[in-house]
Subunit: 475 residues, 2 copies
């Protein structure tokens, strides 16, 4: 591979978005294919993004009373059959352990596709009295769902996620928590990932298997498709009844608890890439970027340049910036290309003339602008710039998205809308048949209800509309 | 359960150490049994210890050039057969996935019992040139080894761990890294866990399946038994040859890399418990204690007490202390018992009289001493005390251990030594038969070589001694 030309090896983002995605995730060393079909290796650069996501979410979970714990990977198959909808939804995707320790197991064990059942089983053991409610526990774990077609981050047999599981004395509290965690997700997605998400309730067809109601947040990718980036589920007493999660209430009677769960996975890294990336590669929002600033020395062999760069690096580190000094033998041009491809938010160029003039050039990855800043107090300029990049990225993504939300009043309108790479809002009567027709006719699915909006009639059957749905093609 | 009497429900530590252990881990809610035999649920209080361990280790790994990544859980069974010793060691313990997505798999998949094979496979794909060496990657993951007899933390079918895997151009570098990571473990164990560990090389019998040499760190539990708390392995070119981890060297020829690996698991939490615990329950070292200080209000209903406690809590939090204010309805005596059982290093008692006198009583969990400290600058006293507790716990454990290291010159001496709850140093000729005899006669195993020590003759067969071995009964 010729060193200077690797950027051209990324497929055209306008002409072949799927290939562009694959090229970017592989070439930037975010991820690689594992030896077993459908699995992925999350490489250090990708994993560092996930660690930053974990840090930000852990902070927020803790503020909301969540504690982390760890539940077993293997779940008895019989647990799944206890909740009728749940088994129907997950059984087809489960990976099954039948042998262990050289012997055949008496009961086959499922590798968790989600943990409501095993956590429900433990809650039933732990919970005694209303005094112990609410329970709020979160788990960071690997999950396995056997998928036919897979793509790194977006859909893989194994992925990493967090799953929060809580239990309450009343339906109201559990519903409130379901809404609150959706708000938490939205705030996190906007402020940390610069993703302007649309949140709302999902249809019966799209809900989590076993839930009373599922709420999702949807992000628009640059090809106009939607990526479900997180979901919260009000589970009512479905799992409490299946697993006997009961408590002795104040009035002396035993009652079933109300539970909810919520989860978000390494898919989000895929969302980041497809919502912000461009022809040069990744564009990462500063809050989760593994490297926020790269310093590239110009004419590095000239006296004092490397020293000044090292000094600057130390200063920025002290200011809490994740900074890298690229003092490799590669040419500046090569370094520019590489770090742009890797989506580093800011690049500082520092050469003999800059030092003489007391300036440094700062390149913004998001806007591709290059501006001179004084070396005096540069750490403050950098800190301000990182904040600007973060908020400007959110705003730019919001404008892109808002320009791509259209309304439709019939099936053809929905098809035309999604063909044009839009989210399409349309009235819906509430029946499954109409939802299925959209899928068949326009290869689009119901993402979430457009909260607070109403329509006269169903765009599919013409009957009275119950809700406005956002339809889109989706990852 | 009568509220005041739960502490008495812990078995006598002198008379029944195994039951004491089980009582402590269950009653303090560190852990619970999972529904599948041999699995455990790490509850929030236990998981918080693990998170503190992770934070401390991540800091150290990063300083040594390690980056975190994530490799797939499922490994093709055929990978294991590529390294002859490795398959022999691990195949009997492997859990196997035979079905997934509703179909039988064409090749059965192992749930990772360790990741040398799959990481070796990826390194062979990634590594091209000597310029890319060394590679230093660490993974935090769940691991499965199907065990016949299990105990929470100590031996479970599934556990959590970290595993570091690196590759070098030369044997010297890989050996140096193996020694360096053992030093890292020792420093971590001493300074964070207050565990005075003995580090050294292991015999052929006790080494990792597939390694050239394994080094371990052994910690003495209060019953005199040893707990292997971490191991580092020099793998030579065994895995490089099996998985074709090759690079183009400066001289233009292709060479196999030298690799090493090292790992440490949630077993360590078991070590913490059994090295420091006492009749009242846990005694946790401050660096990894989930709660470092608990504030217990005395006569909480009297005016100003709770306010003063809350004020103090805030002050300590600002000073970076993990502090809990127990403002529940339980009696102070009950709270004392509970937090002592949970091993919180410091308890601050604050009542109306203390406030009047401008003092607070501080109870040290490790020494059981209670002393009055001025409320003025109490955060500094607390911070100093936490440091003292940390170093005093290490020193106390060191004294306990050193009093229990004996020498033996024959098999009876070894038996008598381990029967008395000691580590036994004895000369060893170097042959497997003698090692096996110790196991049969004294139910003790070779832990590590006593580095720098020598003996005239083998305590078992009387022939010339090659090494001094530390024998012990072990977890």
């Amino acid at each position: 591979m010729a060193k200077e030309s690797f950027v051209e090896q990324i497929a055209d983002i306008e002409k072949d978005f799927p290939q562009w995605y694959t090229d970017v995730v592989i070439k930037t060393k975010l991820v690689d294919y594992g030896p077993v079909k459908g699995t992925m290796v999350i490489r250090p650069y990708g994993y560092a993004i996930w660690e930053n996501i974990q840090t930000e979410l852990n902070k927020r979970f803790k503020q909301n009373g969540y504690e982390n714990a760890y539940f077993p990977l293997l779940i008895p198959m019989s647990f799944f059959t206890k909740e009728a909808e749940h088994v129907e939804g997950f059984a087809p995707e489960v990976a099954v352990v039948t042998h262990a320790g050289g012997e055949e197991l008496t009961e086959p064990l499922a590798i968790r596709p989600t943990s409501e059942t095993i956590i429900g089983n433990m809650y039933s053991k732990w919970l005694q009295s209303y005094r112990e409610l609410p329970i709020r526990i979160n788990q960071w774990a690997n999950i396995m769902r056997w998928e036919k077609t897979t793509r790194p981050f977006l859909r893989t047999s194994e992925f990493l996620w967090h799953e929060g599981h809580s239990a309450f004395a009343t339906a109201e509290e559990a519903e409130e928590e379901t809404a609150k965690m959706l708000d938490l997700y939205k705030e996190f997605a906007e402020n940390c990932l610069a993703l302007p998400v649309i949140c709302g309730r999902k249809t019966e067809k799209e809900k989590f298997a076993g839930a009373v109601a599922t709420y999702g947040m949807e992000a628009m990718m640059k090809d106009g498709k939607s990526l479900q980036s997180g979901t919260t589920h009000f589970l009512g007493r479905n799992f409490a009844k299946a697993f006997e999660i009961q408590f002795l209430d104040k009035d002396g009677s035993h009652k079933f608890a109300y539970t909810m769960s919520f989860g978000l996975s390494t898919r989000l890294i895929g969302a980041l890439i497809m919502a912000h990336g461009d022809q040069r590669g990744l564009v990462l929002p500063p809050v989760v970027a593994p490297v926020q600033v790269v310093i590239v020395p110009i004419a590095a062999k000239k006296g004092g340049v490397l020293e000044k760069c090292a000094e600057l690096k130390e200063k920025l580190e002290k200011a809490g910036v994740r900074v890298k000094l690229d003092d490799s033998d590669n040419s500046p041009g090569w370094k520019f290309n590489e770090w742009e491809m890797k989506g580093v938010p800011l690049r500082i160029e520092l050469g003999p003339r800059d030092i003489e003039e007391g300036n440094a050039l700062i390149f913004r990855r998001d806007t591709l602008e290059k501006t001179a800043y004084s070396l005096v107090g540069l750490e403050n300029s950098v800190s301000d710039l990182l904040k600007s990049v973060q908020s400007d990225m959110l705003e730019a993504a919001r404008v892109r998205r808002d320009n791509r939300i259209v309304y439709a009043t019939d099936l053809d309108g929905i098809l035309k809308g999604v063909d044009g790479g839009n989210f399409v809002k349309a009235g819906w009567c509430g029946c499954r048949e109409c939802e299925d027709k959209v899928k068949a006719y326009a290869q689009a699915t119901s993402r979430v209800f457009a909260e607070g909006e109403s329509a006269e009639s169903c765009a599919i059957c013409g009957k009275k509309a119950e809700r406005v749905i956002i339809f889109a093609r989706a990852y």
